[in-house]
Amino acid sequence: MSDQSIKSRPVYQSLAMDLSGLRHLLVSDSPAYRFEAPPDREVEVWFVAAPDQEGRIPPSGTVRERGFRSPRHLIDRLDHRLAQERMGLRLYVSGTEGFLWDVFNTAQRAGMTRQEIFQCQSGTQARRVACVHCRTFNHGVTTTIVRCDGCGANLFVRDHFSRRLSAFMGVKIDAEVAGEVPPAEQAYS
């Protein structure tokens, strides 16, 4: 399989404030994010604590900052928040690719449009891989071939990305001749 460049995956930009917005919310899956807002604008920041916090919610520096235990914790709260939002919100997302699209899909379900959401990839390049055969998600994949958590097949990680699933496609590499599995290479980290 000779997949070339990844047409189904967007090219991510760095974040800049969209001045047409009335309220601005940045969500990040780590405490280290970069965002520069003009001094006269306010940005609310939601971030996920570093794993060494082990479930403690980190104290926030300012009233405009708020910490969460995990990406899941943050997104659940975001779901609730967006249900109460009105027009004019701009959502900025910083983090790993899986997080970017989990947030994006949550925001779209809440009625936000593509034009109101901005994404910047940061942190690990590890991939989330959806097994096309059994539909199990395999997380944090850094190699070209991964054994599926669900069905046990050795999956080749194709360069085909679904924003809806927030995942790359995994296809059994030795489906034609059982056992013909080349060594996995370290590729995304």
Partner: protein, 353 residues
């Protein structure tokens, strides 16, 4: 008299699918020239064009009943092969109307539709269905309107929503596909779902095809042919089930290739839908064995030339690598190199025994 349906055929297990002589001669052979490369090969969907398979909006042939049964088997194993995003309900009804109107007009001996306002009466004789329902009220059908009618049609269908100067594949009935997954691709834009295709992006095929489709007019459907090759007459070559059909590719030998190797042609049709402004994409799959192609002199010679010169990227993408050379060397022995007529028509009215 109508079509004689081969009701017992299978596309799995014992693979009893066969084409009659008449079905071979009407096959939509995809090669009008001796070389093949991707292009924006879109033309109006009308009667001319070299195959009777183009005569009607939706072609029904001798495999109709067996293909509908095969579809039901696939859906029973994996209901997600049919999915439509909720905002596409108007396009679902548009599809139902288009298919029912076309089938009952083109094949009145097999299908009938009677409309009295929104009270519709549909009869499908080959499948033994007789249904009264209210157009626009999904609760009067056993399932969604798109699923209901595409369970009664040959070939796959997808629904494209048009917005932001793009097309989004926001629904489909996909049980007879050449190795792509609706569950993975649903919601993608035109260039995203075509992402894995080699070479075509670089030569601008998808940019131009999208521009063409954005301007597609109601009442002026278009079509194109696409092709690949499949081992055994298997309709469900989905990526989902690749662990089950992948091993077939290793079973081809010089002795059995003529019976096992099938040319798989997709007659792809595109219709603008009237109320939703969505586009219905029909992907009607035809299978023909190599030994049946060989009975048509022009086709066996042309297939040889196309395969022998096929760009290596296409050989790999279409999954032909393991048997391509065997097919080429077998066909080479039957090709004297004489010039062939342009176009896809078989140039003979009868087949040798």
């Amino acid at each position: 008299m109508g079509i004689q349906f081969k009701t017992d055929e299978t596309f799995r297990d014992d693979f009893s699918y066969r084409n009659s002589d008449a079905a071979i001669l009407r096959f939509p052979f995809p090669f009008g020239e001796d070389k093949y490369m991707y292009s924006v090969n879109i033309e109006p969907h009308g009667k001319a064009g070299g195959s009777p398979a183009f005569d009607h909006a939706f072609d029904v042939d001798e495999h109709y009943v067996a293909e509908c049964r095969e579809r039901a088997i696939v859906l029973d194993h994996d209901p997600k092969r049919c999915q439509v995003l909720p905002h596409m309900m108007p396009a679902e009804w548009d599809t139902l109307e288009l298919l029912m109107e076309s089938l009952s007009t083109d094949y009145p001996e097999h299908f009938s539709l009677t409309r009295d306002g929104t009270a519709w009466h549909w009869i499908n004789r080959p499948l033994g269905l007789d249904r009264r329902f209210v157009f626009g009220d999904a609760s009067t059908l056993p399932c969604g309107p798109f699923e209901y009618i595409t369970r009664q049609a040959q070939g796959d269908f997808t629904l494209q929503d048009q917005r932001d100067d793009n097309l989004y594949v926001d629904g489909g009935m996909v049980t007879t596909q050449a190795d792509w997954s609706l569950e993975f691709d649903i919601g993608m834009s035109f260039h995203e779902w075509h992402g894995p295709v080699p070479l075509a992006h670089e030569i601008g095929v998808f940019d131009r095809a999208l521009q063409y489709l954005l301007r597609l007019q109601y009442g002026h459907p278009v079509r194109r042919l696409n092709w690949t090759m499949t081992i055994n007459p298997r309709l469900d070559t989905s990526p989902e089930n690749y662990p089950d059909w992948g091993p077939d590719r290793t079973t081809v030998t010089a002795e059995n290739i003529a019976g096992k190797l099938h040319l798989r042609v997709e007659l792809q049709t595109l219709f603008r839908l009237p109320r939703s402004n969505a586009i219905l994409f029909g992907i009607r799959c035809y299978l023909i064995s190599l030994q049946d192609i060989e009975r048509v002199e022009k086709w066996r010679k042309r297939l040889h030339r196309v395969l022998a010169t096929l760009p290596p990227e296409l050989v790999e993408y279409k999954g032909l690598t393991r048997f391509h050379h065997m097919a080429v060397s077998r066909l080479a022995a039957m090709d004297d190199g004489a010039p062939l007529s342009l176009g896809i028509q078989p140039d003979q009215a009868r087949l040798p025994a």
